[in-house]
Amino acid sequence: MIDIAIIGGGPAGQAAARQTLGAGLSTTMIDEQARPGGQILRQPPAAFAVKGWMAGRLYRPLRRLLAQTEADIRLDWRGGTSVAGIERIEDHFRLTLSGAHGGTLLARRVLIAAGCYDMPVAMPGWTLPGVMSAGAVQTLLKSQQVVAGQPIVLLGSHPLLLVLATQLLDAGAEVAAVLMPQTYGRMARAVLPYLAGAIFTPGPLIAAGAAMARLRRAGVPMMMGARPIGFTGDGRLEAVDYAWRGQVQRIAAQAAAVSYGFLPQSDLPRQIGAAVRWARPAGGWETVCDGAMRSSIPGLYVAGETTGVAGADAAMAEGEIAGIAMALDAGVRPPSGMARAQARRARLQPFIDLLRAAADPGEVWPQATPETLLCRCEDISVAQVEATMAQLSPMADASAVKHRCRIGMGLCQGRSCEHALVRRIAAARGCDPDAVTPFRMRFPARPIPIDEIIG
């Protein structure tokens, strides 16, 4: 039995591990990637040498933390491993692992710092190969040193697209356009209330300005108010359609990077029954916690995007708080710094609020057609889901719809479609998404090869 299991090797998990290891607690860190870093610092293969990798000033604290983590021989690092199950047994936890370090792991305390993923947004043609999440394009770039395709179109409501566009330009890729559905005016109105507070963390704002200047210099069309309609192609992506000043336009592309926001990874907290709430504005389920990152389950802590998507700096702060809290709760000599970490986290909030407001897909969602697949695993269309909902009582929850038309019944367990179904149920009922009971998250959180289970 170990003291601490940390699920996720990103900034939150790493910051927590600094604290728990410093307090003398045995700590195991599990991540699906081979190397620590999380998605923000998704590392190249160990055998690669990449000059100036993630050299930007904003990444400096993250790189420093990663270097400390990798150098710390006390950390039991288990990469290439998925956490498929989490249960509380009496006073400890049992994790069921799959992959490079498969098996079970018993831990007295668990931190879930499992990050987030790009919100999948159903729109016509979105299942064509070549249409990817912005995160996929970005991690191919920074880890694998591969350009996902070119020409590439970036589209969606999230300002991350600006950062991605400059990274693609740095890599020599041909960026055809950046299409953002909100107008400058709308975005300005959305962020205005938060601007004054965010001025204390000006780094990302300055970076966004620099990115826009860079795109302009490179001649990349940066189109605010261009509403993506869908994707076309014969067997793979060939073009992106969008509406611009009342006209439908078509732009050729081999790849597209889509970003309308991020959803917290919530399988494991929900599997073990931790309290969650609907995340805003993008949706999905964030795990509820107290000021010391304690979830509603005794001994289970959460940090980073699991608690609500807020970015890497907030994740680092929350990880540190969680690490300190775990050491405190374990009764070992409490490391100092809790108040300082909490204050650091609080200072970030205005910028987080600003970014959320700026990225809010609000009224600029792309429209799915009746034929658009909502559930990509089982190939269930919008029309099938609507027909099923029409046959059910308005009070029917997400699982009732799932059981009748198979939405969410496939390999991803609803990670791609559940948020959209919950929104649809809420809209039909005229209630808040928070009032809709989502799918029950089942074991395993990731598909497990049967030969691995039975050995």
Binding site: D397, R442, D451
Partner: protein
């Protein structure tokens, strides 16, 4: 308001009974605490097993196997007519079932079982390992025999109760979901129920009440002071990713816990009576409303049994496991019909309630319509446990 029949529970049994009663003009009212099909009716693995099950061959079980065969023969006919009766496709497949043997001991057990079934009029056949592999070429080479029953199979548990509820409504039944029974007690010659729906509390009177409440039945009965010997059976099931169709049959095992089939969509559904662990309430009693926990060792063992007879499963992925609760009776046979100590109160629970549900619902409805228990289910009457209520004053 007085109803002729009030049905508690919107699972397979309750909805099917509602349909039969509605068609007879009794306009039943059904209340369901959650949604239609939310309990074991929608959580079981969908097997239509009509051979004598492995559990009836275990030490301690004696004559029940023979009793259940009589019921199973009627259930076969019931299932065979369902899609036509309900006028809609229900993913019912009765292409046959194999109960496998992996050892000489298994084979001997199968042989005696088949002989007994044949005596009772169930046309099972003993197959050699090679004959079984002719039917399912991917069976492991060491499978040395099987009992074959041509009309076994499987159905889709996720849609059946809905179909009955839909048909029942069309015939005049009133079905209310999110409607919870708070209290039930005798009132003159009938029953009075207190019901909560959306925060509103109301009462309803009924001449007959059917408790179609699955594993909650014993506890609801206990609140009325009635003893029904039904015991919790928390189980688990697993499903793999989809694959091209190769298994049209139900697979069981005579010596090990296993049920396995391939759904219309291509997933393999694997179960067979492996236990899960109920969640506990503060007082240590099982929480009947919470899903039980998976037991990892049982999951591993269940999948190992499955892959032992069907090695190609090793190439598949487990995509979902789930748990559900049912109940078994003291003698493993269903407990069906009027509770002698509580005239007008009917139950049906206690084992194989998916396979037997449509038939038993019809029988319960007949009991009420004809004011007498059909002779076919006399063996399964709740009266066999009447002695447990000898000292009970029903409230």
């Amino acid at each position: 308001m007085t109803h002729e029949v009030l049905i508690i529970g919107g699972g397979l049994l309750g909805c099917a009974a509602a349909w039969h009663l509605a068609r007879a003009g009794l306009a039943p009212r059904l209340i369901e605490a959650r949604g239609i099909n939310a309990g074991a009716s929608g959580q079981n693995a969908g097997s239509l097993h009509f051979q004598i099950e492995r559990r009836f061959l275990e030490p301690g079980a004696s004559g029940q196997g023979a009793d259940i065969v009589r019921l199973n023969r009627l259930a076969i006919e019931e299932w065979a007519g369902l899609e036509e009766q309900l006028s809609r496709p229900l993913d019912i497949h009765m292409h046959g079932g194999l109960m496998l043997a992996e050892s000489e001991a298994d084979l001997a057990l199968l042989a005696s079982k088949v002989a007994r079934e044949n005596e009772l009029g169930l046309p099972t056949q003993l197959l050699s390992g090679a004959e079984a592999r002719d039917l399912v070429p991917r069976l492991a080479p060491h499978v040395c025999g099987a009992a074959w029953l041509a009309r076994e199979g499987h159905a889709n548990p996720r849609i059946l109760a809905d179909a009955f509820a839909h048909a029942a409504r069309a015939s005049g039944a009133v079905i209310e979901t999110d409607s919870r029974l708070l209290d039930l007690h005798r009132d003159g010659h009938g029953w009075q129920a207190t019901i909560e729906q959306a925060g509103q509390i109301s009462t309803a009177r009924a001449r007959h009440v059917i408790l179609a409440t699955g594993h909650w039945t014993a506890r609801i009965a206990a609140r009325m002071g009635l003893n029904i010997p039904l015991y919790l059976a928390p189980l688990m099931m697993s499903v793999t990713d989809r694959t091209a169709p190769f298994l049209p049959y139900l697979i069981q095992h005579v010596g090990k816990r296993l049920s396995m089939k391939q759904t219309d969509d291509g997933n393999m559904v694997i179960g067979g009576g492996w236990a899960s662990a109920p969640q506990r309430m503060a007082d240590g009693m099982p929480d009947l409303d919470a899903p039980p926990h998976l037991v990892p060792d049982n999951l591993r063992a269940n999948l190992a049994v499955a892959a032992s007879v069907l090695p190609c499963l090793r190439g598949r992925s487990l995509i979902r496991s789930w748990t559900g609760m049912t109940c078994i009776s003291a003698d493993q046979l269903p407990v069906v019909g009027q509770v002698p100590a509580a005239p007008g109160l009917y139950i049906a629970a206690g084992g194989s309630m998916f396979t037997l549900g449509p038939l038993l619902a019809r029988m319960l409805a007949r009991s009420i319509i004809e004011r007498a228990m059909p002779e076919e289910i006399a063996l399964f009457s709740a009266a066999r446990f009447a002695h447990l209520n000898a000292f009970v004053v029903p409230s």
